[in-house]
């Protein structure tokens, strides 16, 4: 299982990469492996303001549907439209082409998220 050290993480298995004041959000390698083949993604509306911890997207595999939570508060700037045709990108490249959405955030809010080592401990205890 891969836990890139430059990312921040949530207990609910999202990862966040900060690019200036924009946060790119996806689900972790651990999460995609647990879900299995992803076949459908419900993405949030661009422009929507979201609270930290609110359910903003849904990733569905053959076996189950899973809510995706906003790691921090912010505004949805962009969604990964490639996923509507190729949801399997989430399995193939969870930290790359399988990203879910981008948010405008206050970078300081990311300090409350988990480091790679902290997240790895959470994931491996499950």
């Amino acid at each position: 299982m891969n836990y890139p050290s430059e990312l921040r993480y949530t207990k609910s298995h999202e990862w966040v990469r900060l690019e200036g004041d924009v946060a790119v959000v996806g689900i972790t390698d651990f999460a995609q492996d647990a879900l299995g083949d992803v076949v459908f993604v419900d993405l949030p509306q661009v422009g929507k303001a979201v609270e930290a911890g609110s359910a903003v997207a849904v990733v569905e595999s053959v076996k189950t549907a899973s809510d995706i939570y906003a790691p921090v508060a912010g505004e949805i700037l962009e969604v990964n439209s490639a996923l509507s045709d190729k949801p399997e990108l989430i399995n193939q490249a969870p930290y790359g082409e399988g990203w879910l959405f981008k948010m405008k955030v206050n970078p300081a809010d990311l300090n409350g998220l988990l480091s790679a080592a902290e997240y790895q401990a959470v994931a491996e205890s499950q």
Binding site: G36, E60, V62
Partner: protein, 335 residues
Amino acid sequence: MVPFAGYEMPIQYTSITSEHLAVRGLVGMFDVSHMGEFWIKGPGALEFLQYATLNDVAKLKVGRAQYSMLPNAQGGVVDDIYLYRTGEEEYLMVVNAANIEKDWGHLQRLAEGFEVRLEDASDFFALIAVQGPHAVAVLQKLTDTDLVSRKKNDTFMGKLAGKWARFARTGYTGEDGYEVFVAPDEAPAVWAALLDAGVTPCGLGARDTLRLEAGFPLYGHELTDTTNPLCTPFDWVVKGQKEFYGKQALLHPACERRLVGLLVEGGIPREGYRVLGGGKEVGVLTSGTHSPVLKKGIGLAYVQPEWAGVGTALEVEIRGRAAPATVVETPFVKR
């Protein structure tokens, strides 16, 4: 691994989609040893089974099998089963694992007064289903018994990878193939021989997506103690010209809802989701998934009869949103 009817079973070995596509394109195998097996033996076996099941057992010759159901007294279904005639006065009934105790008690009660002996042989059989367009060719390499020229629903004894086995040309995937009953202590060797022959092991996940594409019911979902089979596409099982337990309650139902297949766009239908017609609730999903072959949502739903015609436009409520759905013929995927 997940607990399933008292057994620990894998949802998937690698991925549900790849296992599913292996069965549709080549060959896969399922360890379905959890299924229950009852012997029904004796001079009254035929008469008893005619009474206890819905299909016409008189038509079942030695060496043949049929799909059937056990009716209850209220017009519902105790279980759906497969019945194999293994001798003149000897039948093997395969039942759902979750229903073994219920079925056993039910059959014991009904058997009173019949010249029949029931034996619960569930612990004496392992069952491996080998399914897919290449299933018969792969199995044939592991046995001297002719498998190729047999017909669907034939059943016979033979040796598979050197172990005695009961073969049945049956399955739950909509593909050609065999289900093979072997002794539990010999099952690992048979499984290993099939693995060596290149058969893909498949878990419960693919078993469910395959049976749904094939339009087959799963007990506890499409069929229950309170569903009348005449309100489903499996009404052909009911042979109303014979006498059977609960016949009066079962025949001529009002069918407030009928079971239909739904093709769903823009989302994956799941069990329990509401079906809307003209904006109002007209039914509910009993099973739903993503079809790996059609790459669309498919489901089985009970809907009000006026919304049950093939081609009817409906909607499925998915997380508060209405996804377009169409009533279609089952199976969703034809061989």
